[in-house]
Amino acid sequence: MSKIMTVDVLSSIKGAQPSEAVNKLFDVIKNAQSTNNTSFNNNHNNGVSLDDLRDDVVFESSALEKQIIIKNFPKEKNGYLVVSKIIEE
């Protein structure tokens, strides 16, 4: 995968360009010093502990929930979701 993807493709937004205001924020980060400079190997302790993971439970959706999900389909045929032609590249 050597193909370079531009931000508009990555973001799926036509004509998207990096913004000047946001780039200014990023410049601050590039030039900032974190207090522990070896911090690339440190603890990003925001995840859930492995001991605390719940069981893999399947929740059955209610009939009403299923009905609303179908109502939200942008395009529907016989109760199925219709999508555009899928491309292969």
Binding site: D8, I13, A32, I68, S84
Partner: protein, 466 residues
């Protein structure tokens, strides 16, 4: 203790007012309001629920403290069968298939949802101008912004259109509009309230937060919504906070404030003077006050936005119009995704998605995203050390007073920097409450993680002190 909820509860029990009349009055106020706080009214469901409460009272049954109390919901929470638009074109006609845990808990105790409230689209903004429903106007001066992103919620509470409202706070979105509209707004400790059913902006700092007119009402609503939820693995079990436990603050001996926040050139001179005057009043009560060192404001803001944009780029990638939302068809699936997103996202949302994809892409992630994560760890470490020395950190909510409507949209960088005092506490996942006292835009009270009780306790103390 001063409480709008308790007062209305008593009126219902004494049959001074019927619940249907109470709800109808609030719906009428919301319908007639010119502050653009309403995305949709929940009149049918609200009046049905109110009639049930009246029947209970007529039958001599006791009702719970929140039973029959009308409340508002920021339009980013799922409530089964109602429009949930995130104030966006993409989800303009989207209906929730299920109900958020926090909202379900309020329904379970009988509180009555009456309105889905205007906000910045997907929480992307600090003024509630980034919305398809018209800019939210400030409750005190309608020429000014309502604040954001939970602007509609704060204005509704301030105007007494709702008794309390449920906002969402990722980087200050409950605390800042609370400050701009002179009401209370709490960002609890991250994980205290389940995020299940809250449309994700930045998952690592998203918090469900109540907005109300008294500390006691914040406590009542917080207690109901808190708790571990199997559907949000970042939640934790917490003890209920009792009224008596927050009625005296004898155990608060030392507080601190960030020197650089107050010495900053960006702070409004009146906010600075009022903040320092509040500090003097606290000292006069025998509480020790320490000046603390903290990261520069631009580093806090940049760290927050780097991580929040990365997370929102990922979270919003699901919004492509294939399963739901306002799909625009094009020649194939990929083109349909792109045109749907280009046409339906606001400029601010697109700016954040693009920024997020920039920092997550090869060549940028090390020097920006990973560094942002490292800075966040340093910020958390800094807080940990601070709370070994002080019980509470006090801070202004914003460096300046609310801008005029139209000003923030012209200068996104200035809008990002206006979040300087709120984002740090979000990155630290700390409990922080805005109180409508101390400065024109209020004060923030922050305690160590999981110590939401201490925050409410100190708020009660300040009520009589400053």
């Amino acid at each position: 203790m001063d409480s709008q909820i308790k007062q209305i509860h008593q009126q219902l029990m004494n049959k001074d007012i019927s619940c249907v009349k109470l709800v109808q009055e609030r719906l009428d106020l919301l319908k007639a309001n010119t502050n653009n706080t309403v995305n949709s009214l929940l009149d049918t469901i609200a009046l049905q629920l109110a009639a049930k409460v009246d029947t209970k009272i007529a039958n001599g049954e006791t009702i719970g403290i929140l039973e029959g109390i009308p409340f508002g919901i920021k339009d980013v929470y799922m409530l089964q069968g109602t429009y949930t638009t995130a104030s966006s074109n993409l989800l303009k006609y989207y209906k929730s298939a299920y109900t958020a845990t926090a909202i379900q808990k309020l329904l379970d105790v009988g509180a009555i949802p009456i309105v889905k409230e205007n906000c910045d689209s997907f929480g992307h903004g600090s003024s509630s101008e980034n919305t398809i429903f018209g800019a939210v106007k400030n409750a005190i001066n309608p020429d000014l912004v309502g604040g954001g992103s939970s602007g509609g919620s704060a204005v509704n509470v301030a105007k007494d259109y709702t008794v309390f409202s449920i906002g969402g706070d990722t980087g200050g979105s409950v605390r800042q509009p609370a400050g701009y509209n002179h009401v209370y707004g709490l960002k609890p400790t991250y994980g205290r309230i389940s995020r299940y059913g809250l449309m994700a902006y930045a998952s690592s700092t998203d918090c469900v937060g109540p907005i109300a007119k008294s500390v006691e009402d914040i406590r009542l609503v917080l207690n109901v919504m808190s708790g571990k939820d199997v559907k949000d693995q970042t939640t934790y079990a917490s003890a209920e906070i009792s009224e008596s436990s927050i009625s005296n603050s004898r155990d608060i001996k030392t507080i601190g404030y960030f020197k650089n926040f107050i010495e900053s050139e960006a702070i409004d001179p009146d906010i600075k003077a009022d903040f320092l005057a509040s500090i003097e009043k606290i000292k006069a009560k025998g509480i020790k006050v320490k000046e603390l060192d903290f990261f520069k404001s631009d580093i806090l803001v940049s760290t927050y936005y780097t991580l929040a944009m990365a997370e929102t780029a990922s979270n919003l990638s699901r919004l492509d119009g294939s399963n739901y939302g306002n799909r625009i068809e094009d020649k194939n699936l990929k083109e349909s995704y792109a045109i749907t997103r280009s046409e339906n996202f606001s400029e601010e949302t697109k700016r954040r998605i693009v920024g997020g994809n920039q920092v997550l892409s090869q060549g940028f992630s090390d020097e920006i995203y990973l560094k942002g994560l490292a800075l966040r760890d340093s910020i958390s470490e800094n807080f940990k050390k601070d709370f070994e020395e002080v019980d509470i950190i006090l801070s202004p909510v914003t460096p300046a007073t609310p801008p005029k409507i139209g000003e923030s949209l012209k200068d996104p960088l200035a809008m990002y920097l206006s979040d300087a005092y709120t984002v740090g506490f979000s990155l630290g996942q700390l409990p922080t409450l805005t109180i409508p006292q101390g400065t024109e835009t209020g004060l923030q009270i922050t305690a160590a993680k999981n110590n939401d009780e201490l925050v409410l306790k100190f708020a009660n103390f300040l009520k009589d002190t400053i």
